[in-house]
Each structure stands twice: as C-alpha cells, then as structure tokens.
C-alpha cells in the first residue's frame, strides 16, 4: 500500500517535471488563466526574447480588472484601460489563445469564468497572474496566484519554478449559526490565524461545515486564502463538486466524465495522511464578522467594539494606531452604528448567483438608506443573466442599487468605480487595504453579502440578524 498523502501532495507529485538547480521544482501547469492587467508585459518579454507560447490551448483569457461596469461602449473613456484591452486582444489573436471578450456571454472576473465554464477541475494545477487564483482550490485544484515573470514562464514553458508548500488542515466542525456565511468563516479563520499565519502553507479546508457548503461558498473561502498568507487553499472534491461540474462546457462528457470522477475521487486526501499542522474551529463559534482596520485580519464580531491602542498586545500597538487613524473609528466604541457612504456588492469573493439570491431575500421590499450609494456588480455576465432570469436584478434595483455589468469594479477600483475622499464602504470584496477602493483616504469594511445588504438599508454597519429578524439559535 502506498503512503497516505494529502491532495496537495498527490497533485504536486503528478505535476513535478524535474528538480531545478536551486532545488525548486519545475511544476507543470495544466491550465493558465490570463487577464489584461498582468499579461501584456509578459507577452512583451516573450517578444523581446523571440519566444512563442508553448501550449496556447492551455491558456484562456478574459478581461475583468479595467472594464467599466456602467457602459461597455468602446473606446473606453480611460485611454490607458482602452490600450490594455486592445493589447490583450492582440496577444490572444497572435498566439491563438481563447479569449472571452466583452462581447462574449462568458466574460467575467477570471475566477468566476473558470468554474462556470468547467475549466476549473479537480486535481489540476492552475496559475493566473492574480492573487485570488486560490479561489479555484474550491474544486480540489491547486491554484496559484503568480507574478508577471511567472506568467511569462508559464506561457513559454507551461511550467513554473516553485517550492513545495507545507499543508495545514483547517477543520471547521459542527454547523454555522443562522445569519453566518462563508465570508464570516474565512474572515474568522484569518482573524484567528493572522494575515501571515499561512506563510509557507497550503490550506486544506475540511470538516462538516465545508462538507455542507455549496461550491460557491467554498469558492468564497478559498478565494481569501491569500489574505491569510497562504499561497493556495483547497477543499477535497466530493459529490457537491462533481454535480456542480457535470455538463459544463469544458467538463469531460460521457464515458470520459465517469472516468474523470473516479480519478478525482481518488485524489482527495487520504484519511490517514499526515498534515504539517492541523487547526480545528467550531462552526458554532463563528459570528457575523466585519473588519475594522486596514488588513483582513483586523476583524471583529459584529457585536464587539473597535479595539483600542492600549488594549492591543505590545507588538500590535503601532499597527492598531495606524489602522484606527486611517479608519477614523472611535476606539472602544461599538462597530455597529458606523455610518457608511457606499455599499459595494460584487467581486470574485462574493459576486456569485447565490450571494445575490441570499441578499435579495432580505432586500425585497426594503430601500437603500438615503445618501448611500449602492452598486451591485455581478462577477460575470452569466451571473448577471441568471440573476436577471430570476428577477433578482429587479429586487436590487427596486431597493435602490445600481445594477451593473460584470467586472472587478470597486474591489480594486481600476475602472471608474471608486470611492471619493474618505468615504466608508461596506463591501463584499476581499481587501480593506488603505486606498484599495480607489481613494487614498477611502475606508473599507469587509463583510458578508447579507451584512452589506443590511448596511445599505440602514446606512450603517449593523447586525443583519437584527435588521432582518434572523434567529441566532442554531437550527437543530
């Protein structure tokens, strides 16, 4: 009998081409996803060195970061954004790369497109010049965010130089309480283990809470692995994974499907495999969680108060002071009641159909608070179309949200969607870094989609369970 291994170790071994001089592994990348922001320089490097794309059928492109979401008329108002999309078109055409362009019904944030199309498959290695590539781990893929020089490496060789990571199993037992979502789970994990807790690790998420999650919820968690310092995060593939993938355009069909499923099942971590670390959390202990500071680990329960400098551990005081100064929050005061200016609903973290559906349940018949700018940006054109088919867009619009086309939008504000001045934004996105949402003094409070809906209708950071009358007790 062979040694018990984790999925990560199995996939790593299957994809290891050879050992490089410095001891790193030349790792084969099954699927390479590219977008307009981090790829043009890589294609330029290839041209400078007279290199070609080695396996163009293994790279798939879309456009997401710079896309305006209020109009898609070209040329874009921003000439730099316009240049980037034209450059991507040219690179895809010249190199024979499949491109889901703006006029494609399949366009969207790159981390939405892969799963929707069935491109993201268990046991594959995936790379993309975007740190949230960890999202694809929800399918039991090993997916790495990479820099542009590595985009070049993958284009030229379909491989990259990597060192094998350690694996930490994060087990979340029991059940989540009502009003607690996947976003709360990952914010709680990051808050508990820290933003650098994952350095050197791949995160394997498991336990009853993950077993019960649907694929979109698993994607939300895996998406933010990088915010906890982990280069990738994954969930072992199971029936939930397979039923999501079955019948999608790029998924295996017919006999190949059955063969693939049995192969994928065997890739799941062996029950007796050894992990480098194991952390166990109780689902019942996870509260609706919001950030108060300038990194995703600076988070508290919605029922807690904003930290004080004096109350912080000695090594943390400087960071707490800096975060408080930027966020302009009152130390020691409840986070609830913090006035918001903007509600942003979208991103590769929480821009999926189930996010919109769940929030719409509560937005129905309610209105966005006077003075709050609320925008809803589906993560992909498929999400947009499906929400419209189900009438979800009407609920959002009736509530006072602007209903937009797909893109990264105000998650990182490379398009016209930006905070102004020190506006405070309740956001379903993944980063609350200083300046992240387009204004250097802008402020971001990360939270779940339903919590953003509650913030939008009350005009303040608030406990969605109270606003929407959700019981706090776990359902037996």
């Amino acid at each position: 009998m062979s040694e018990a291994r984790s999925l990560y170790q199995k996939v790593w071994r299957e994809h290891a081409v050879r050992t490089l001089r410095n001891g790193q592994t030349q790792l084969f990348i099954d699927t390479h996803l590219i977008h307009e922001v981090t790829s043009p320089q890589a294609f330029g490097m290839l041209r400078d060195r007279g290199l070609k794309v080695l396996m163009p059928e293994r790279t798939i492109a879309t456009v997401d970061h710079i896309v305006p979401t209020h109009t898609r008329v070209e040329p874009f108002e921003d000439p730099l954004a316009d240049e980037m999309i034209r450059e991507l078109r040219r690179n895809c055409t010249e190199n024979g790369i499949r491109f889901f362009d703006l006029d494609s019904a399949n366009q969207g944030i790159v981390h939405m497109v892969g799963p929707e199309q069935g491109i993201t498959q268990p046991g594959t290695t995936i790379a993309c010049g975007d740190s949230h590539t960890s999202t694809h781990g929800a399918f039991g893929a090993i997916a790495f965010g990479i820099g542009t020089s590595q985009v070049r490496d993958v284009l030229a060789t379909q491989t990259m130089a990597m060192s094998e990571l350690k694996v930490r199993r994060i087990e979340v037992t029991g059940r989540l309480r009502p009003g607690v979502y996947a976003k709360d789970v990952i914010l709680h994990i990051i808050r508990t283990l820290g933003v650098k807790g994952g350095l050197g690790y791949a995160y394997e998420y498991g336990g009853e809470v993950f077993d019960r999650m649907n694929m979109e919820e698993r994607m939300t968690v895996c998406n933010m692995s990088i915010e906890g310092g982990a280069r990738c995060g994954y969930v072992n593939p199971d029936d939930t994974t397979f039923s999501y993938l079955e019948g999608r355009p790029f998924a295996p069909q017919g006999a190949a499907w059955d063969e693939a499923v049995s192969r994928w099942r065997a890739l799941a971590s062996d029950p007796d495999c050894r992990y480098d670390d194991v952390v166990t959390l109780r689902g019942e202990d996870i509260p609706p969680t919001v950030t108060w500071g300038i990194n995703p680990g600076q988070a508290i329960s919605i029922e807690q108060t904003v930290p004080t400098v004096e109350g912080a551990a000695e090594g943390e005081r400087e960071a707490v002071a800096e975060a408080l100064a930027h966020m302009k929050l009152t130390p020691g005061a409840p986070i609830q009641g913090t006035r918001i200016d903007v509600a942003f609903f979208g991103s590769c973290t929480n821009g999926r159909v189930s996010d919109f559906v769940e929030a719409a349940r509560y937005l129905e018949g309610r209105r966005v608070h006077a003075g709050v700018k609320a925008i809803a940006v589906p993560g992909s054109q498929h999400v947009k179309a499906e929400c419209e088919r189900r009438g979800i867009d009407k609920v959002f619009k009736a509530a006072g949200f602007e209903w937009r086309d797909a893109g990264c939008s105000m998650c990182l504000a490379m398009n016209p969607d930006k905070l102004v001045g020190d506006q405070l934004c309740a956001s379903t996105s993944n980063r609350n870094f200083k300046g992240r949402q387009g204004s250097p003094t802008g402020r971001t409070v990360l939270m779940s989609p339903v919590m953003v809906a509650a913030a939008a209708v009350t005009g303040e950071v608030t406990d969605a369970r109270e606003v929407f009358g959700v019981t706090r007790e776990a359902v037996a």
Binding site: R21, L54, S131, S163, G200, G229, R436, T441
Partner: protein
C-alpha cells in the same frame, strides 16, 4: 544562461516602518494600467508619499537624508496581498537592490527574487536595531551578505536568512528561472502527454 551572481549588496538604507505593507500600498492599482513596467519607479508608495493634490507629504523616501538609499528596511509580511509584480518592479526601478524585513508575502518574494531583488529576513530585534542605526546615521553603509547569511552595518552584525532555493538562485546567477525552465521543455511535453488533454481544448 547564467545571470549575474548576487552574493552581496552594499548601500545605504531607508526604513519604511510597519508590518503587513501590502502591494496596493507599494504601487496603487491605478498605476497598473500600463503595458510595460517602464516608469514604475515614479509610482513607488505613491499615495503614502503624495497628498491628493500631488504635493509631497514628507514620507521617509522623500527625506533628503535618505536620498539614494538602495536597501529598504521594513517589518513583517512585507509585500502581502496582490500578486502584482509591479511592486518589486517599482522597487528595482527606483534603485533598490535589497529589502531587509522580518518576513515577506510569498508571491512578492518570488516575484522579487526573479528580478534579482534580494529579500532577506531578520528577527524583530535585528530589524529594530538596523532601523535605529540607519536613523542615527543615514550615511551608514549596509552590507546584505547573501552568501554569508548576514546583514552588517557599522557595529551591527545580524543574522539574515532566506529560503535556500532563493539563496542558491541568487548566488549561482539563476534567479530568473526561464532559461532553465526552457531546458526542460522536452520533459514538459512528456508530462503533458501523461496528464492528458488540455482543458482549454475541450
């Protein structure tokens, strides 16, 4: 195709204090709208250095005493967040050859190493001592000894580490792996064959 061997870097330092300095801070997203990395040096820490009207805010990088510094000193988890290679590209283009910090975001670390920007880790005490020494004497020459695993500055001799693979790559002049990866293309094709068809060609 061996590149320059990077064994030791010498220069003056500048402390950019704080932990968890993310790549959005190092290069704000609006400066990613570029199809080449040229000119990114100007955008380094832009919003930390400039007010909204473009005037300088008195950031340490604009302090004349630290002008010409080539070694950046910072806290833990430096370069966390976004995978944007623009961050180390901006550092290199602004004249930096090394970063001394307590730890690094991993994507940043890999990106930096590929550019030959040496990132060495020191203990919190060592970082504080080095920061103080540089503040006391901005002219102090710092030696980042990749080969010897030390950072030296005046009377200070500090243990400094980096993952062995990165150290080896810098010392041997293989920090940009593309040449070596290309040598393996024959084996890459075999692995591709063994693993089966490309998803994208479905």
């Amino acid at each position: 195709m061996a590149l320059k061997q990077i064994r030791e870097l010498r220069g003056r330092g500048v402390p950019v204090t704080g932990d968890d300095i993310d790549t959005d801070r190092i290069v704000p997203a609006r400066y990613l709208k570029c199809v080449t990395f040229d000119g990114l040096g100007e955008t380094l820490f832009y919003d930390e250095r400039h007010g909204e009207d473009g005037t300088l805010k008195g950031h340490v990088l604009d302090d004349p005493r630290f002008a010409g510094a080539s070694i950046l000193i910072s806290g833990s988890n430096f370069g966390c967040g976004s995978s944007r290679e623009h961050a180390p590209q901006a550092l290199v283009r602004a004249g930096f050859t090394a970063v001394v910090a307590e730890s690094f975001g991993e994507i940043f670390f890999g990106n930096a190493t590929t550019l030959g920007l040496a990132c060495v880790s020191v203990s919190p005490d060592a970082r504080r001592a080095l920061t103080q020494a540089v503040r006391d004497d901005p002219q102090l020459e710092i030696v980042v000894d990749v080969a010897g695993g030390q950072v030296r500055a005046g009377a200070l001799t500090l243990d400094a580490s980096m993952p062995e693979s990165a150290r080896e790559a810098l010392l041997a002049g293989y920090w940009d792996p593309l040449g070596e990866l290309l040598e393996g293309v024959g084996e890459v094709r075999e692995v591709a064959e063994r693993l089966g068809h490309a998803v994208g060609s479905a």
